[in-house]
Structures are given as structure tokens and as C-alpha cells.
């Protein structure tokens, strides 16, 4: 990874709040991360951990109200996406940042032919004519592994299987050759054998196109096979961040450790009893005053209940560049 080069995407101190009848929900709390060019950043977390909301906040996909992106900077190249106009942002979406969502059935429009949906961003953002766009759309479809691409342009989404629809979504996301691809649980709705096909496709496309990818998932297995670097989220915050091998070999946050233990292995020793993380995820009402994980944490002590831990590096690199963790607990505090 070219660590010296400027990152493609640099997010600092992002904060998103939902105003609901029951009060404010602090879904994302000062999340910072960056994405280097050509890198695949995995974002892991449970539902409600803020991983999707973070990514949707970046590119203004959250309806406001109720959502309110309160603070932070999102630098894509040299522009702050939180400061530019809605029109400019629309140009960024699709052209500079592509997305693939979880459910390929609901994210494709059922009444338009697949070809039209791939051509739309090409005409809108790249200024191609319909004819040129149709040629390019066929290229894209065959690039994502759909046979007989030219004929399939005139098919409707319901004529495709789940895996094929997700391939179409990927083709749309890649249509304008974006700098960043955000994939939000793109394989969660798919079967494992189809998931394996899509993962192969993404690996392949990365080599060919070299775009930077943010891959959101709750599946640590998927992350292990595909990511360069991993960010673990819990309760609307980044609790740990590290290169993928480092994270799996040397997890620091009690949540990450517990998470790795709760998944039964397919090949390793079979445990008689699964490790559990007792309790429930936190309700994110009000700004955080304690560590979000403290109620479920085996190591929690007084400080965890009164002070939300900041991310600190556990190696020589600055926070965000190497391995960092947001936890008060250290081997020293254990003995204190």
C-alpha cells in the first residue's frame, strides 16, 4: 500500500444524528477513516453499529430530516463532500463514487430494462449518446461475467437471478469508472456459492480497474478473504482498525476478540459450546458518555463507564495508519 500518497477518500470526525420522536439517536459518532487508492477497506459491525449510516452520510444519501450530518469533513480528492451543493453532490454520486447495495432486487427498477439502467449514468455523467452508451453498457455487462451481454440489455431485472442482478448492480456502479466503490453488504442476500462467484469477480475487477473499495459486511469470513485493511464498528464508533492479517492474528478490542470467537469454524476444532457476547447492543440515545461496549465487556472497569475511549495506536504508526483501538483496557490497567 502506498502509504505516503494522499488517500482517495479521507473522512474526519463524522457525526450523524437522527431526530426521532423519542429523541435524538446518535448513529455515527466522530468516525474517522481514510481509503488509499486501490485499497479494499472492510467495515465490519452488527446491525445498528452505524456502518451503513456512515457510508450513506458521506454521499448525502440519508433523507434529512430525520438525518442530520452534524460535523466532520469528507474529502474526496480536494473537495469536501459535506460542503458542496446538492447538484455537485449528484455529479459525484455515480461518477466518482459508485455503490452496490445489499438487495439487488430492490435496488434495480423493475419496470426498466437492465440496459437502460446501466446507460443512465453513462448518459448523465459521461455525456455519451444513447448509441455509445449502449455499446459501453454491453461491454460492462460482459465484464461482470454476464454471457450474451448485448441481448441481455433488453431484459428486465426479474429475468435475472439474484447473483446476476448483483452483477448488474456492479456494472452500474462501475459504469463511470468511479474512484471509489462503496459496497454495502453486497453478498449478504446471496447464497454461498453465488457469493463465492461475486467475490471472485470483485478480486478480478480490482486487478483490472484498480479502484478503491469500501466493503461493508457483518461476515468476518468475507472480510478475511478480500480486505486489505479492516475497520470494526460498534455503537456508532470505530472501535478497532488494522491491516487484515494483523486484526485476525492480534485483535485488541474486547468486542473484536469476542466477535472472532463467536463464529463457529468450518475447519478448526469444533467447540462443544459457542462463546457468546452476553447482553444487547447499546441504544444510541444522546452523545456517548461511556464506552459503547462497556455493558457487555468482560474487562470493563470504572473509567469505561464514565469516559468514552479515544482511538489510540498500538504500534508505531499514527492512528488510522497502522493498528489502533478505542479501549481503555491495557495489560497495565489490568494489574493496576
Amino acid at each position: 500500500m502506498a502509504d505516503g500518497a494522499a488517500p482517495v477518500l479521507d473522512v474526519q470526525g463524522l457525526q450523524t444524528v437522527f431526530r426521532t420522536r423519542g429523541g435524538e439517536v446518535h448513529a455515527v459518532n466522530s468516525v474517522s477513516f481514510h481509503l488509499n487508492s486501490g485499497e479494499l477497506l472492510g467495515v465490519v459491525g452488527e446491525s445498528g453499529s452505524g456502518k451503513s449510516v456512515t457510508m450513506m452520510s458521506l454521499i448525502g444519501l440519508l433523507p434529512s430530516p430525520p438525518a442530520d450530518v452534524r460535523a466532520g469533513t469528507v474529502m474526496l480528492g480536494n473537495r469536501d463532500l459535506l460542503k458542496i451543493s446538492a447538484d455537485d453532490l449528484r455529479d459525484v454520486r455515480g461518477a466518482k463514487v459508485g455503490f452496490v447495495f445489499q438487495n439487488p432486487m430492490t435496488s434495480l427498477n423493475p419496470v426498466f430494462m437492465v440496459g437502460n439502467q446501466i446507460m443512465e449514468p453513462l448518459i448523465r455523467h459521461m455525456g455519451l449518446t444513447r448509441k455509445q452508451a449502449a455499446v459501453r453498457a454491453a461491454e460492462l455487462l460482459s465484464m461482470v461475467g454476464i454471457p450474451d451481454a448485448k441481448a441481455r440489455l433488453n431484459a428486465y431485472p426479474h429475468q435475472f437471478s439474484g447473483g446476476m442482478r448483483q452483477r448488474v448492480m456492479i456494472a452500474i456502479a462501475l459504469a463511470c469508472d468511479p474512484d471509489v466503490l462503496i459496497a454495502d453488504e453486497p453478498t449478504t442476500a446471496l447464497d454461498v456459492t453465488i457469493q463465492a462467484q461475486i467475490l471472485e469477480l470483485i478480486k478480478d475487477l480490482r486487478q483490472k480497474l484498480g479502484m478503491a473499495i469500501v466493503w461493508i459486511t457483518h461476515d468476518l469470513g468475507v472480510i478475511a478473504g478480500i480486505a486489505d485493511r479492516v475497520m470494526v464498528m460498534y455503537g456508532g464508533q470505530v472501535v478497532e482498525q488494522a491491516p487484515v492479517r494483523e486484526l485476525f492474528a492480534n485483535p485488541q478490542h474486547p468486542y473484536t476478540r469476542a466477535l472472532l470467537k463467536t463464529i463457529p469454524s468450518l475447519t478448526g476444532e469444533r467447540e462443544e459450546r459457542l462463546q457468546v457476547i452476553e447482553g444487547q447492543p447499546p441504544i444510541l440515545a444522546g452523545p456517548p458518555t461511556s464506552c459503547p461496549f462497556q455493558a457487555r465487556c468482560a474487562h470493563a472497569f470504572d473509567r469505561c463507564r464514565t469516559e468514552n475511549p479515544q482511538r489510540r495506536a498500538i504500534d508505531d504508526s499514527p492512528v488510522g495508519r497502522g493498528h489502533d483501538v478505542a479501549c481503555h483496557w491495557t495489560p497495565e490497567t489490568a494489574h493496576a
Binding site: 452488527e46 446491525s47 437471478s161 439474484g162 447473483g163 446476476m164 447464497d191 454461498v192 456459492t193 453465488i194 457469493q195 463465492a196 462467484q197 467475490l199 471472485e200 457483518h218 461476515d219 468476518l220 469470513g221 468475507v222 472480510i223 478475511a224 478473504g225 487484515v244 492479517r245 485476525f248 469476542a258 466477535l259 472472532l260 463467536t262 463464529i263 463457529p264 469454524s265 468450518l266 475447519t267 469444533r270 467447540e271 459450546r273 459457542l274 462463546q275 457468546v276 457476547i277 452476553e278 444487547q280 447492543p281
Partner: protein, 354 residues
């Protein structure tokens, strides 16, 4: 190879040649033009106290099997003997009387709980239907069940929306336990839950099995969780069983090419292993069950397909003790039918090999 964890060797559930077809009507006159063969002649046994894992991809018919076993569908053909009673042929009133011993835990705890009923009403509904107990006795039973699944008694008058996904699934489990069933079909009970909550529910299911001597059919697409909970595992593909093996044997060395590909497709949560592992990537999609291929139903995607596969449908035969495979790669050396019952199989083999 011995069956790894035979808790008991008497089958509680015996399924023979189960078929579940859904008719297709088309044209102006809505004529019956074909069938979706969701389950196409499968046979297996579930031993008392055992957990049989049923795995496969979406659309392979695994949920249909679970529902057909409990006669939630009018099945097209075959027999389902549960605890000595063939539920496939029971009349309405007899079926109703047989229901208490077989229950189900559903996938989506949100959709399977009535939002207008309180927790006590939901858990108590089976008691209303099947017992003539008075109110205090019912309430005592409801509390007992809530204790058993780890729900606080104070929650009895709350409504489903006040609970998290994991807690809702506990409510569904308590309801399934209300009538002291012997057999529970768990249809993807953890698929809708977060990883950290999944383990809680699976541990609960295991505890309850120990405590009440339950027999489970555990339907799931999560192969690593099935490895944890099941004693034996049946792998389904397109309405048929491809392989039925003891858990350890299957995961160590899958015999059917589909079982092998399915296991190899599961992402390994270990970056070092993930890089070195050779994956089998299946090409294409699952064919439509309305129009399954001729011969072996896996022949369109099988990496080891040969001519015979496209012509003759393989039977599920025992190729090693306790291991049943439907594949022509394993020639039928020991003449046998396909009952799926390890014991019966051994007897017939002994009889026939003379």
C-alpha cells in the same frame, strides 16, 4: 467410520419418498401446465434426541421439507412417520391431536409473532388451543417457559415490538415448547439475527434439547453453524438430497461434488487460510425446479460430470457406513435401495449380498 454422536438409535421421524409439488397454472383458462418440484422424493430418518442439519441454498427445498414434515402443506406423495404416526395421511381432527408433539421455530421472529398480542398471550396460545387448563395453571406454565428460554417474567405483558431480534426469537422458542413437543423444526432460526446474538440462541437451543430431550431438524444455510449444532447433516440440491452423512465425516471429507463445492464456498474467517485455500467456484445458477435437468439434477454445474449423469438420475445409496450419497461417482456396489436409514440398510445389504 462410526457415527460420531449417535444419541439414540431409534428413529423418531421417518420420511419416505416425500414429494411436494406446487402446481403451475397458466394461460387464459388457468390450466394446470406443470409442477414446481420443490421436494422430489426424499427419504431420511431423524433419531430420537438427534439434531439433523438440513443445508442447501435458497430454493433447494429445505424449508419446504420442514413445512411438509409438519403437514403445513398437503404433501404430494410419500410418508412422514413421526413417533409412530403417519402424519401425511391423517385427517383434520387426528392431525390436530397430533400437532402438540411437533412444533416449529420460524426464521423471522418479527413476522411470526402477532404484534397485537402480549408476550403471555403469544406463549399461551398453544395452551388455549390444546388444553382445557384454567387461567392460573396456564400462567404458571407461561412463566415456566419464560424462565426456560431466559426471558424475564416482568416482560409477560409487553408486546413483540418492545423486544430485540434475539429476544423475539426466544419468544418464538417458548411458544414452540409450550405443549412439550418431541420434535421441533427450526427453520433458519438464526438467519435474521446478528452474529453476537446467534450464538446466544444456538446455545439456548442446545440447552433445551438436553433438558427436554428434544429432536431437531435444523434448517440453515449457515454451514459453520450447522457443523456446530448438528449430529448428522443432509445436503439438499434442487429438491433432492445430495449427501447425508455424520457431521464430522461430511466436513472432513465431503463425498458429493455439490457438498464439496458448497463447503469450499464458505468464507474462512482467517486471512492466511483464505489465501492458500483452493476454492471450487461453481459456474452458473441453480436450474428452475419447474424444469429440472434430465439425469442428475446437479449435472449442469458439476465439475466432475460425465455422460451417465445426464441420462440417469442417481439414487441415494450408502457408500460408507452411515454415509449416503446420490452420485454416479460412487458406483452402487452393494445393491441397495434408498431408504436413508442406516440400520435398515445394513439388514437389507446383509440379506442381499448372499
Amino acid at each position: 467410520m462410526l457415527d460420531a454422536a449417535p444419541k439414540a438409535q431409534t428413529p423418531l421421524v421417518q420420511v419416505r419418498g416425500l414429494k411436494m409439488y406446487f402446481p403451475i397454472y397458466s394461460g387464459l383458462l388457468r390450466r394446470h401446465t406443470g409442477n414446481v418440484k420443490a421436494v422430489d422424493g426424499i427419504s431420511f430418518d431423524i433419531m430420537a434426541g438427534e439434531t439433523l442439519g438440513l443445508v442447501g441454498e435458497s430454493g433447494c427445498g429445505k424449508s419446504t421439507v420442514g413445512r411438509a414434515l409438519l403437514r403445513l402443506y398437503e404433501i404430494t406423495g410419500g410418508h412422514v412417520v413421526i413417533n409412530g404416526i403417519d402424519v401425511a395421511t391423517l385427517g383434520t381432527e387426528e392431525l390436530r391431536r397430533a400437532r402438540p408433539q411437533m412444533q416449529m421455530v420460524f426464521q423471522d421472529p418479527q413476522a411470526s409473532l402477532n404484534p397485537r398480542m402480549s408476550l403471555a398471550d403469544i406463549i399461551g396460545e398453544p395452551l388455549d388451543e390444546h388444553t382445557d387448563w384454567d387461567k392460573p395453571r396456564k400462567l404458571a406454565r407461561i412463566y415456566e417457559l419464560m424462565d426456560a428460554v431466559g426471558l424475564n417474567r416482568r416482560f409477560a405483558n409487553r408486546f413483540p415490538h418492545e423486544f430485540s431480534g434475539g429476544q423475539r426469537q426466544r419468544i418464538g422458542i417458548a411458544r414452540a415448547l409450550a405443549l412439550n413437543p418431541r420434535f421441533i423444526v427450526c427453520d433458519e432460526p438464526i438467519a435474521a439475527l446478528d452474529v453476537s446474538i446467534q450464538a446466544q440462541v444456538v446455545n439456548l437451543l442446545e440447552d433445551l434439547q438436553q433438558k427436554f430431550g428434544l429432536t431437531y431438524l435444523f434448517i440453515s444455510h449457515d454451514l459453520s453453524m450447522v457443523r456446530h449444532i448438528a449430529d448428522r447433516v443432509a445436503v439438499m440440491y434442487l429438491g433432492r438430497i445430495a449427501e447425508l452423512s455424520p457431521r464430522d465425516a461430511l466436513y472432513a471429507r465431503p463425498l458429493h461434488p455439490y457438498a464439496e463445492a458448497l463447503l469450499s464456498a464458505v468464507p474462512e474467517p482467517d486471512p492466511a487460510l483464505a489465501q492458500t485455500r483452493q476454492r471450487i467456484i461453481l459456474q452458473g445458477d441453480v436450474p428452475s425446479p419447474a424444469n429440472p435437468p434430465q439425469g442428475c439434477n446437479f449435472c449442469t454445474r458439476c465439475p466432475r460430470v460425465f455422460d451417465l449423469c445426464r441420462q440417469v438420475e442417481p439414487d441415494l445409496i450408502q457408500v460408507e457406513p452411515g454415509r449416503f450419497v446420490a452420485c454416479h461417482l460412487y458406483p452402487d456396489t452393494k445393491t441397495a435401495g434408498s431408504t436413508g436409514d442406516p440400520e435398515a440398510k445394513e439388514h437389507t445389504q446383509q440379506g442381499e449380498s448372499q
